[in-house]
């Protein structure tokens, strides 16, 4: 049981570390270290607090298990990410084990009730604290979050209460059940610990004394400025899990990778990509939708990521300029009739370029390049719109069946949401026209055609 708990912790740590592996340049040693931290870190802290022999150092098995489990977790990170519920459940069970063992041990050393519970909770959360410190990411247990330490607290307390009435084994089972139950209920019902907040203390008395000292009290921010009154989550009938809190945990697939992240609700999709995930393909030009440099494909459609609140697109699929090649590859694969995307193909795609990217290079369709990622994503989205038969305001016949003929006027109108300060428009138009013509001649309707296209896309005769 001990070893299983260590292994589960290490796998979790490795999966977590793997999500940041790319931008933090984490190597194999790093993954192993995180595995040790999350696998045995909590127990080590517990034993150090109790000033006893650290259990993990008592045999060869613990450290080896942690490292091995971490490597397994790293290799199968994608698989683990997909089994979210199972992972949460297993994790909740191991949380219960840590709570029970930690509290038992502390109590056995003659510690009082409160210190024993404290040690039990530290045994549960210590691993993730060390992990977050190692990764220099925000320490998750101090943030409004997943009810993790509260579940551990419940388990530890239960252990002591039940042990009074019966024996340690029964108490351990009860502690594990309570911890597991609390954590799972929190998961399903989105229970959150309340945010910190300050009491709004009136400023009146002090104000009179300091009058006429050149200080404008009206500009004093209200004490409650960032700790807004927030009704309890029970008040939000029919609302979603993340209701009410200004931080939200969201999950997005970005260029094929699942990314889980806690964001402030104010974060735009653009800032999430650039500042939180290190995906810097989309550029910030105007930050108000006027320039198009931030254009990405969101669920297959081009949008200004600066105007999309990240939290509103939880569960969405984002393709940035970095994912266009893989997108083209996937579409080509789908057209060959074999839709499966194995690892080889993915790495091939990463090295290759989207046909539009090649056309941009061939036509020298950029100067400084700042607008180019947005131009490319916008053009890919635009060509899908054309393939779906969407007209533009310059289309002669609004009701013409099938894709519009993409002449220069059409391309300029449809791309008007993307500005180029260098004025590379002439070549951008040429590059798009060429890419459109070549995709037409291979009767290649984009697989990500907008959802309710008038006639669902599909192959049709070349227009030009």
């Amino acid at each position: 049981v001990d070893l299983a708990a260590v292994g589960i912790g290490a796998v979790q740590g490795a999966v977590f570390g793997n999500r940041m592996a790319r931008e933090r340049h984490i190597d194999l040693v790093g993954i192993a270290s995180i595995g040790i931290a999350t696998g045995v870190g909590g127990g080590m802290l517990r034993d150090l607090l109790l000033e006893t022999q650290v259990a993990a150092l008592g045999s060869n098995r613990y450290l080896a298990t942690a490292v091995l489990a971490a490597l397994v977790g790293m290799l199968f990170a994608d698989l683990v990410n997909r089994m979210e519920l199972a992972v949460v459940a297993i994790d909740a069970a191991s949380l219960g084990i840590w709570a029970a063992v930690g509290t038992y041990k502390a109590n056995g050393f003659g510690l009082g009730v409160v210190p024993s519970v404290f040690v039990g909770v530290i045994a549960c959360t210590g691993g993730t604290i060390i992990r977050d410190l190692l990764l220099r990411t925000e320490v998750s247990v101090v943030r409004v979050g997943s009810f993790y330490s509260i579940a551990a607290l419940g388990g530890s307390t239960t252990f002591l209460a039940v042990e009074r009435l019966s024996d340690s084994a029964t108490a351990a089972v009860a502690a594990i059940l309570v911890t597991f139950g609390l954590r799972m209920l929190a998961y399903f019902f989105g229970w959150r610990t309340p945010r910190s907040r300050a009491l709004p203390i009136p400023h009146g008395g002090a104000k009179d004394k300091h009058e006429d000292k050149g200080k404008d009290h009206r500009q004093q921010p209200p004490v409650t400025g960032t700790a807004l009154a927030c009704p309890s989550s029970r008040g939000y009938a029919g609302a979603r899990k993340e209701a009410c809190w200004m931080d939200a945990r969201i999950s997005l697939r970005v260029d094929g990778l699942v990314r889980d992240v806690i964001v402030d609700t104010r974060t735009s999709l653009l800032d999430l990509l650039r500042e939180h995930l290190g995906v810097t393909g989309p550029k910030k030009g105007c930050d108000q939708g006027q320039c198009g440099a931030c254009t990405v494909l969101l669920d297959g459609r081009r949008v200004n990521s600066c105007l999309a609140l990240a939290v509103a697109y939880d569960g969405g699929e984002v393709a940035t300029v970095s994912g266009l090649a893989a997108l083209a590859q996937a579409q080509a694969g789908a057209h060959d009739g074999d839709g499966d995307r194995d690892g080889d193909r993915d790495s091939e795609a990463a090295a290759a370029l989207h046909p539009l990217q090649r056309a941009f290079i061939r036509h020298d369709a950029f100067q400084c390049g700042y607008c180019t990622p947005g131009q490319l994503c916008s053009a890919v989205g635009m060509l899908a719109e054309v393939a779906a038969g969407w007209p533009s305001v310059v289309s002669a016949d609004l009701c013409a069946p099938g894709p519009a003929a993409l002449d220069e006027a059409e391309i300029r109108e449809r791309m008007s949401g993307n500005l180029c300060r260098c004025g590379a428009y002439a070549n951008i138009v040429l590059a798009i026209a060429e890419a459109a013509a070549s995709s037409n001649s291979s009767s290649n309707a984009p697989g990500n055609a907008p959802a309710n296209a008038p006639d669902g896309g599909g192959a049709r005769e070349a227009v030009r």
Binding site: A239, R266, G292, V303, L307, L309, G417
Partner: protein, 347 residues
């Protein structure tokens, strides 16, 4: 941006209840305007209730031949809808003339109607604005007002409503379906937006907590033709200086049905009722169209720098009506919406 709570509404009732309970809560659609306004500090909600995923994302036929447009239908989907393109071209053209492809993929029907003015003073929290901060004054009258109102303005506010879609819907006599704390109600689109009067802070007649769920279109008479013509400072991706949405039915040599709405000239989509009166039952002619336009614009009260909108609006109205009144078999003389045709005689 001030911190705010976010929740994704599961159904209209819970969304409405959330707003009812919190005077500082707002609905979020596509966010193309609201997110910008929050960033500018113009709108500072405590709670953002995301209604974009509510199940109002379809365009459905209504009994009797009309069309019901769900409030969360994205502008791009609505413009591409085969029924809209075939039967209400004025609406498809207006949508396609609005913003950019990226915007249209985000923007919703309901959100489009409820977008705020782009008046520079409204958007700058460092400056006075009666719409944003009631009673603080209106610098636009003596300041930058090239793109502001010439009709229906008040001393308190000369803002224009920026939507293209709403102008087409006004000409189509659309009806807005609203759910709210007091139950459902229907509002004619032409009555949805207010004139500024002495309370420009309110754009529409909707109360806090009322949620647009759909826009209904009644069928147009057989033989009716419609189009949208927009004039702007550049060829694409700009707000209208002046736009015209018109529906015309010529039968027996006279104008049976004529409905005209102007954009870019007022605090709301401006239904040109005086012009319609002049035209109804009359034989179509350029002279008559000019008289009608002039009758409508007699009430115009332009400011120092936007008097150009008066002849511009007149010319765009005449040109649009001429296009619609001519025999469709002969084909339109000018297939480009907007463009210099309307500018020709502007001083």
């Amino acid at each position: 941006v001030r911190p705010f709570d976010y929740t994704r509404a599961q159904d209209a009732e819970s969304a409405i209840r959330l707003l009812e309970r919190n005077p500082s809560a707002v609905f979020l659609g596509g966010g193309t305007n609201l997110v910008d306004l929050m960033r500018l500090g113009v709108t500072t909600p405590e709670l953002v209730v995301d209604v974009a995923r509510l199940p109002y994302d379809r365009v459905e036929p209504l009994p009797g031949g009309g069309l019901r447009i769900g409030a969360t239908v994205r502008n791009s989907d609505l413009a591409a809808d085969p029924a809209v393109r075939a039967r209400y071209p004025v609406l498809a053209q207006a949508l396609l003339a609005g913003a950019s492809g990226q915007f249209r993929n985000l923007a919703t029907t309901g959100g489009n109607l409820l977008q705020r003015t782009r008046c520079a003073y409204f958007q700058d929290v460092a400056l006075p604005c009666n719409k944003r901060a009631p009673g603080s004054g209106c610098p636009a009258r003596d300041g930058y007002h090239t793109n502001l109102a010439i009709l229906g303005a008040s001393p308190a506010c000369v803002a224009t409503h920026p939507s293209d879609m709403a102008v087409a819907l006004a000409a189509l006599d659309a009806v807005v379906q609203v759910e709210g704390p007091g139950g459902p109600r229907a509002v004619r689109l032409r009555d949805l937006h207010r004139l500024p009067g002495d309370d420009p802070s309110r754009d529409t007649v909707l109360d806090h907590g009322e949620l647009i769920t759909a826009v209904d279109l009644s069928p147009l008479p057989d033989g009716a033709r419609s189009r949208y013509r927009k004039v702007r400072d550049r060829a694409s991706f700009a707000f209208a200086l002046v736009s015209v949405a018109a529906v015309v039915e010529v039968a027996g040599g006279v104008l049976q049905d004529v409905r005209i709405a102007l954009g870019g000239v007022a605090h709301k989509p401006w239904r040109a009722e005086r012009a319609e009166e002049v035209l109804r039952g009359a034989p179509p002619s350029e002279e008559r169209f000019r008289q009608a336009a002039e009758a409508e614009l007699a009430a115009a009260a332009p400011l120092r720098d936007n008097a150009f909108k008066v002849p511009l609006a007149r010319n765009v109205m005449v040109r649009t009506l001429l296009d619609l009144a001519e025999d469709p078999a002969e084909g339109p003389a000018d297939s480009q919406a907007g463009g210099p045709a309307g500018n020709g005689e502007a001083p």
